[in-house]
């Protein structure tokens, strides 16, 4: 019996090695792995994961794998190592939290191809392509909408006050970039507009988000934008309660509330960070052999990296508003308007900007 087991074990070991050594015999589609901490935020990471669905839709023979690494950062390195050792043509990972770990693993696999889907630092390895998004241009677009809506005669707007609001998750340059763009967008179409800016200091406390939003609505704001992740979910509840408007971020957030008309109609649009499209474009360019590995590309409105969710609610807005938004969008694309970024601002400069728009 024991001998039989030994033989079986030996056979097993031998054949498992045979499996590994087998060369690629048939031509298969591209194999892409995406590593994200988790899915289900109805926002950023879900949009990112949707990139895999887009690849699958574009290339029927492609194999896509989404690996959820979990929130325990100490485990991320192993997930990246496993993926890098795996049989993938392209390994996609990153974002501001995971990139240092990702880069560390990349350095050990010079023969593999990697894409960092969201980091503002240029890749340090020649086999990595980096992408980053112009959050300020995203904020600019939502700011245009807010600035126009607040002086319009829309049902829930209050043209007498000319105040709009914004909620950030935490006060750091990455979030301020959204808000700075928002300020510039609103001022471009409505120079006298006043803007409440608040921070929840938390990306996962919707009750806090609702509380801050209710305060801003009570203070006279009639439309509020958020860059606060899960905290922002509370904003939409507040919009229903106060009968005012809200703007989503990263994904088309109105989609969540399709069966809740009262909420759906108040989320006029969302500033979208099109990580999914960006991933698809990068894979397309990889297959065409034109992806500039070793480089970082910063994707704005022009490159389709950010945009507005032009859903039913948005399309129901008066054409006058949409035309103005479209004209400014075109100006940013043509380079006639350059949206300034908060990434290079000092704390004092940023505080001065905030104070200047304070109602």
């Amino acid at each position: 019996m024991k001998n039989l087991l030994k033989v079986l074990l030996a056979l097993f070991i031998v054949f498992s090695f045979v499996g590994c050594a087998k060369p690629e015999e048939k031509k298969e589609g591209v194999k892409v792995a995406l590593l994200v901490p988790f899915r289900g935020d109805q926002s950023y990471f879900d949009v990112t994961a949707n990139g895999m669905a887009l690849i699958k839709a574009e290339y029927a023979d492609a194999t896509t794998t989404i690996i959820e690494m979990g929130r325990d950062q100490s485990k991320w390195e192993n997930y990246y190592l496993d993926a890098a050792e795996g049989d993938y043509d392209i390994i996609i990972g990153g974002n501001w939290e995971a990139s240092p770990t990702f880069e560390k693993v990349i350095a050990q696999f010079p023969d593999k191809k990697f894409i960092n889907f969201d980091w503002d630092v240029a890749p340090s390895n020649a086999n990595t392509y980096g992408m980053f998004y112009k959050a300020n241009e995203l904020g600019f677009l939502t700011g245009l909408v807010a600035g126009l809506v607040t002086k319009s005669d829309l049902k829930y707007a209050d043209p007498t006050k000319n105040i709009i609001g914004a909620i950030g998750g935490m006060e750091f340059a990455g979030i301020n970039d959204f808000l700075y763009g928002y300020i510039q967008g609103a001022q471009a179409v409505n120079p006298d507009v006043k803007i409440f800016i608040a921070y929840a200091n938390n990306f996962g406390d919707p009750a806090k988000g609702k509380e801050i939003a209710l305060n801003q609505y009570a203070g006279g704001a009639d439309i509020i934008f958020h860059a606060a992740g899960g905290t922002g979910n509370g904003l939409f509840d507040a919009a229903v309660e106060a009968n005012r408007y809200a703007l989503g971020v990263d994904a088309d957030q109105a989609l969540l509330f399709k069966n809740d008309q009262a909420k759906y109609e108040k989320i006029l649009t969302s500033g979208t960070k099109n990580v999914d499209l960006a991933i698809l474009q990068a894979v397309q360019r990889h297959l065409a052999g034109t992806l500039p590995y070793g480089k970082l590309e910063i994707l704005g409105i022009k490159e389709n990296g950010v945009g507005l969710a032009k859903n039913d609610v948005y399309n129901a807005l008066p054409a006058a508003i949409r035309d103005i938004v479209a004209s400014y969008e075109a100006k940013v694309i043509s380079g006639e308007i350059v949206v300034k970024s908060a990434l290079t601002l000092t704390a004092d400069e940023w505080n001065a900007i905030k104070a200047s728009v304070q109602p």
Binding site: Q42, E171, N215
Partner: protein, 307 residues
């Protein structure tokens, strides 16, 4: 400074404080009962979260917020029953048991959420029901009080009732006396024929019920949906309020309101161009000042006793 006073002296601010304080005070009362029975129930956060989840999902499936509320209460009490089984019967360390339950609810709610809605983030796609807001007939016409106390979620009124009921139970009933006796000295209580485990279990179940009401408020009153870890530490703030209440239910309530007030203030102050770092430290500074004041008071008291 004048602006701060201007905010705090409006009836709307009073209304906001009540709205903010509900989950904190329910958690504090839950901690109070458990602590009176000699159990540090740090699983309140997890009980709240589980109740918030079960309540909103049940209300979505039955399309009845009240059935949702009952289910939430049962969920909270079930969590408490699990905790009491492990800590009282199997003699697990209750802090470890509490940590285990907190971790369990944090992940298990997401797991169930994913099974039910296909999303790991929020239950927004379910059309869940919320508990009603109540406008109190005569009170609403009284100038200032009406705007502070009328129009809250029904759970806010249950909260006020709960404070009084908990007080009456602890000070006016044999059960309250036994809970305190068990908490002070279980051996002495046992020697006069009190079933210690039974009393502690009852206290924990009541604690779970109160925590569940706070949790149900989060997902069916304060907000209209469940999101992962939506209680965001309110259970622990309740525990802190209880600790500063020195075993007195009125002081516990007062401290919870103080925390709620500073939380509401930190939100309201964001309308002004003040540095957000300073505003956001206000609730923590308040807790710190409270603890220092309490320590000074205790120190003086001990000194007088010593003399």
């Amino acid at each position: 400074m004048l602006d701060v006073l201007k905010i705090m002296l409006t009836p709307e601010f009073g209304f906001t404080v009540i709205r903010v304080v509900v989950p904190i005070l329910f958690a504090a009362l839950a901690a109070y009962i458990a602590n009176s029975a000699g159990i540090a129930n740090i699983a309140i956060e997890g009980m709240m979260l589980m109740a918030a989840f079960v309540g909103t999902v049940t209300s979505a499936f039955t399309q009845n917020a009240w059935i949702g509320l009952i289910a939430a209460c049962l969920a909270g009490m079930l969590m408490a029953a699990i905790l009491s089984y492990f800590t009282l019967i199997l003699k697990t360390n209750n802090i470890l048991g509490g940590i285990a339950l907190n971790l369990f609810s944090s992940s298990f709610t997401v797991f169930l959420l994913f099974i039910i809605t296909g999303s790991k983030g929020t239950s927004a796609t379910l059309s869940a029901r919320s508990l009603p807001k109540i406008v109190i007939p005569i009170l609403k016409d009284i100038p200032i009080l009406g705007r502070i106390f009328s129009g809250h979620n029904v759970l806010a009124y249950i909260m006020f009732a709960a404070v009084i009921l908990v007080y009456l139970m602890m000070y006016q009933t044999p059960l309250g006396l036994r809970i305190k006796a068990v908490g002070k000295d279980p051996h002495a209580a046992e020697s006069v024929g009190v079933d210690v485990i039974r009393i502690k279990t009852i206290a924990l179940l009541l604690s779970g019920l109160l925590a569940a009401l706070g949790g149900a408020y989060m997902s069916m009153g304060y907000l209209s949906f469940f999101t992962q870890n939506m209680t965001a530490g309110r259970g622990f703030i309740g525990l802190a309020a209880e600790a500063m209440g020195m075993g007195n239910v009125w002081l516990v309530t007062l401290t919870a309101f103080l925390f709620g007030m500073f939380d509401a203030l930190s939100n309201a102050l964001q309308l002004f161009a003040l540095p957000s770092e300073i505003i956001q430290t206000i609730p923590y500074v308040a807790v710190f000042v409270g603890i220092v004041a309490y320590s000074i008071y205790e120190y003086r008291r001990m000194k007088i006793k010593g003399d």
